[in-house]
Amino acid sequence: MKLTLRVWRQKNADAEGAMSTYQVDGISSDMSFLEMLDTLNEELILRGEDPVAFDHDCREGICGACSLVINGDAHGPERTTTCQLHMRSFRDGDTIDVEPWRASAFPVVKDLVVDRSAFERVIQAGGYVTAPTGAAPEAHATPVPKPDADFAFEHAECIGCGACVAACPNGAAMLFTSAKINHLNVLPQGAPERETRVLDMVAAMDDEGFGGCTLAGECATACPKGIPLMSITSMNKEWLRATRKVKRSPHPPR
């Protein structure tokens, strides 16, 4: 396959960025999208040019590092991560636009690499169970109904890639935040911190400059792990419930 790539190039966080055009040839349909970019980078290095910087690591769809907007879609046309997108999804002669995540809470570091540390601070605000090592009761002491365990798992699958934020017209992190809240709040182990978790994480999310939810639903469509849109509804319900149980100044999710 022969392709034309239009790639966002930006030297560093402070520099102006622009789209640059490159041609790549000899692309196999069995290549992953990132292997196609590897091919481009090998050529750029030999020409003495700066290769395109992009985040990637496991290349099996689970670490959540890769993060490209391809032809306007977070992770491209298939419902998967960029590393699991294969070139058979494109046609010979195609022109492909490649951009970084676009969101005010995710500033560009270089080229296609963005700073997602805002997600870290949302988790640090309460995305855990306070269970210091060593004090754990016997695992079978607390049975968890299978539907609850399955619900928890389906939300715990979030890989923290940020596609939900990149896809959202408002740059909201509601799907990411709700996934962690729903994972932990449905479990008996998460129950003691159920209210503070949702209140604190939602507040942290707002502080990081993520936008508000207008139920556009783009996040759930872009999510490579299939976290459902209903996750946000569940979080809002949790939040409302918590505001009634915990006396705090109100800080509503937007």
Partner: protein, 650 residues
């Protein structure tokens, strides 16, 4: 090859592993009681550096911080949650005996020593088996969503090399869920100010002062800034070195720099040739391949492995009638069948492919067939167990495994070798500890499935936090080290010179081209089957590649910016030295054991022939100089409880 490299001296044997005496089941209790403690009020005065945030590093960082130590932690990823433990699929072993199927701590201990082909230290393995049960409790308390039965209790499944069902799992994403548990515990400590987290920061060297590990040199991957960090102890949890082979199931950026630099500073490297080739990976599709993807071993519970009986049979799988198929694992190993340990399954796949019976492009594959499982359990049940793995397979190959059997082929997956550590997980550099895959301790010559997660978390949650206390209590805080110290100046200058040189060569070959060349060489000569002549060839070639590397490497850009080519090139510098040691270790070990198969040492029916008379030891190598012969130190392995036998899975 310089003949001098092969002419390695044998130094003093390992005098003391620090494992307490007494019955094996009581040793860990004894050690914990004998270990000195640090007064809780004094702990915050101690700084501990932890490099890596996978299962071992993440759990260690969180636990040490909970205990009150000041933890400074590093990862090269943009978030600690992305460490490669996240990709572990199948499960985690624990001797809970919830199934009432005859499991016990002793059986897990026995299985692990036997599975490791009698090349692991009994004391460590027994401790691992004991701690396994606590790990499950701890993870459940953290909210790890393990698979459960309808009654609400935890579900388990079987894994290779064992006959009980002791593997706990979370669909095909057990590593992800366990890592997120550790990551969340770590996040709690970061928020509390007890852990100072440095993401996108890579350790480039170790600082040793007065014979003790006192800090690291690390590079901020965004700004390129090189900084020094000081501590009272340094913990390496930087993972394995499978990426020496270029193609492996490791993450693209997993690397050996932290352990190799520590080795150069005095930490012995043990059993570097013990690498695990995993039998069930997606076969490669072409030269563009950048990494290989594992299909969890759990698939062997319900999938049946076969190839055509006839050579060169290129009919599609469904056209090959039942009586023309060779279910070779079930045929050769009737009692374990498709669940033989990984080293055996990998070699068997290689053998049938070498016979010309392989399937798929280039004949480099065997079938893993779920037709019987779908008939027996129904498609829904298969989907519930393996759905995400099937999806992943289909995405990579464009084939539907519910309709067409999967094609699999072995690939480099895990490294049992690593930094030599004593019972306390301390290396030969006082104050330097190594945990998880970075050390060599528990898996001998072959790791059983679902045991890596167990070991990573055992080391990080339970072992290291107990043993490091003893070191810190016995070594009250030394005087502060500063950048002016001559040792620090030397390490800093070496690091900066290395990076400058990489940028200055301005040759005509990319970092990847060297990495790929080295990887192909290692796969051919230090892969699934090794020979004296092949290893000698590799040992001749590696110094040549190294020389060419420093003449022709091209790294664009500068060191004072985000520069992924520079990161890669700097890691390859270390692979080019480590690869040499791996080949030397493989050459010196003239026996077959576990993942190390020497063609000269096999039984008449082609099974690995272990030589306990000559090689019942761990080989710990001491660094001397680049390209110069290392010194071999032997740790004799004593088996008091599990008596070495020829492994039989027939």
């Amino acid at each position: 090859m310089s003949a001098a490299y092969l002419n390695y001296p044998t130094g003093a044997p390992v005098a003391d592993t620090k494992a307490p005496a007494g019955p094996v089941a009581e040793r860990w209790d004894t050690r914990r009681f004998e270990a000195k403690l640090v007064n809780p009020a004094n702990r915050r005065k101690h700084t501990v550096i932890v490099v890596g945030t996978g299962l071992a590093g993440g759990s260690a960082g969180a636990t040490l911080a909970e205990q009150g130590y000041h933890v400074v932690q590093f990862c090269y990823q943009d978030s600690p949650r992305r460490a490669h433990s996240i990709a572990a699929q199948g499960g985690i072993n624990a001797a809970k005996n919830y199934r009432n199927d005859g499991d016990s701590v002793h059986r897990l201990f026995y299985d692990t020593v036997k599975g490791g082909d009698f090349r692991a230290r009994e004391s460590n393995v027994h401790r691992l088996a004991q701690i396994s049960v606590e790990i499950i409790d701890q993870c459940v308390a953290q909210g790890v969503p393990f698979a459960r039965e309808y009654g609400g209790l935890l579900d388990t499944r079987s894994f290779g090399g064992v006959q009980v069902s002791r593997t706990f799992y979370a669909r095909g994403q057990t590593g992800q869920q366990l890592l997120l548990g550790a990551y969340q515990a770590l996040s709690r400590q970061i928020a509390a100010g007890n852990v100072e987290m440095h993401p996108r920061t890579e350790m480039l060297d170790l600082i040793v002062v007065d014979g003790r590990a006192r800090g690291i040199v690390a590079r901020d991957l965004i700004t390129g800034r090189i900084d020094t960090y000081y501590a009272d102890a340094v913990v390496l949890a930087s993972g394995g070195y499978g990426n020496v082979f270029y193609l492996s199931t490791n993450a693209m950026n997993s690397n050996a720099t932290a352990v190799w630099r520590a080795h150069r500073r005095g930490a012995w490297f043990a059993n570097p040739c013990f690498t695990q080739i995993h039998p069930t990976c997606v076969p490669r599709t072409g030269d563009h391949q950048s990494k290989l993807t594992l299909m969890s071993e759990s698939l062997r519970n319900d999938g049946r492995i076969w190839v055509p009986k006839a050579k060169g049979d290129d009919r599609p799988a469904h056209r090959i009638p039942e009586d023309e198929r060779d279910y070779y694992l079930e045929r050769i190993y009737p009692s374990f069948g498709n669940l033989v340990p990984r080293d055996i399954a990998s070699r068997a796949a290689k053998n049938v492919c070498d016979e010309g019976r392989g399937v798929g492009p280039g004949g480099q594959g065997v079938y893993l067939d779920f037709a019987d499982a779908v008939r027996r359990m129904g498609r829904d049940a298969v989907e519930a167990r393996y759905g995400n793995l099937f999806d992943m397979y289909q995405r990579i190959t464009d084939e539907d495994p519910y309709e067409v059997p999967m094609r699999i082929y072995p690939a480099v997956h895990y490294t049992m070798g690593g930094l030599w550590v004593d019972y306390d997980l301390q290396t030969t550099v006082p104050g330097l500890f190594a945990i998880g895959e970075a050390n060599f301790s528990d898996h001998g010559a072959n790791r059983l499935g679902a045991s890596a997660l167990m070991q990573g978390l055992a080391d990080g949650y339970f072992v290291l936090p107990a043993t490091i206390n003893d070191y810190l209590a016995r070594n009250p805080r030394h005087e502060t080290v500063t950048d002016e110290h001559p040792n620090v100046q030397e390490v800093l200058a070496e690091t900066q010179d290395r990076l400058h040189l990489l940028l200055a060569v301005d040759g005509d070959r990319t970092p990847d081209s060297f990495h790929r060349e080295l990887g192909e060489l290692m796969w051919e000569f230090c892969g699934m089957a090794r020979t004296d002549s092949g290893l000698r060839k590799a040992l001749e070639r590696i110094p040549q590649i190294r020389e060419e590397f420093w003449r022709r490497i091209k790294v664009p850009g500068s060191g004072e910016e985000f520069n992924q080519s520079l990161e890669k090139a700097n890691r390859i510098v270390d692979y080019l030295e480590l690869a040499e040691l791996m080949c030397l270790d493989a050459l010196h070990r003239e026996e077959s054991c576990g993942g190390h198969f020497r063609e000269e040492s096999q039984t008449p029916d082609g099974e690995a022939a272990r030589r306990d008379d000559a090689f019942a030891y761990a080989a710990a190598w001491e660094f001397t100089d680049t390209g110069a012969a290392p010194v071999l130190h032997k740790e004799d392995l004593v088996f008091e409880y599990v008596h070495p036998t020829q492994r039989s899975y027939a």
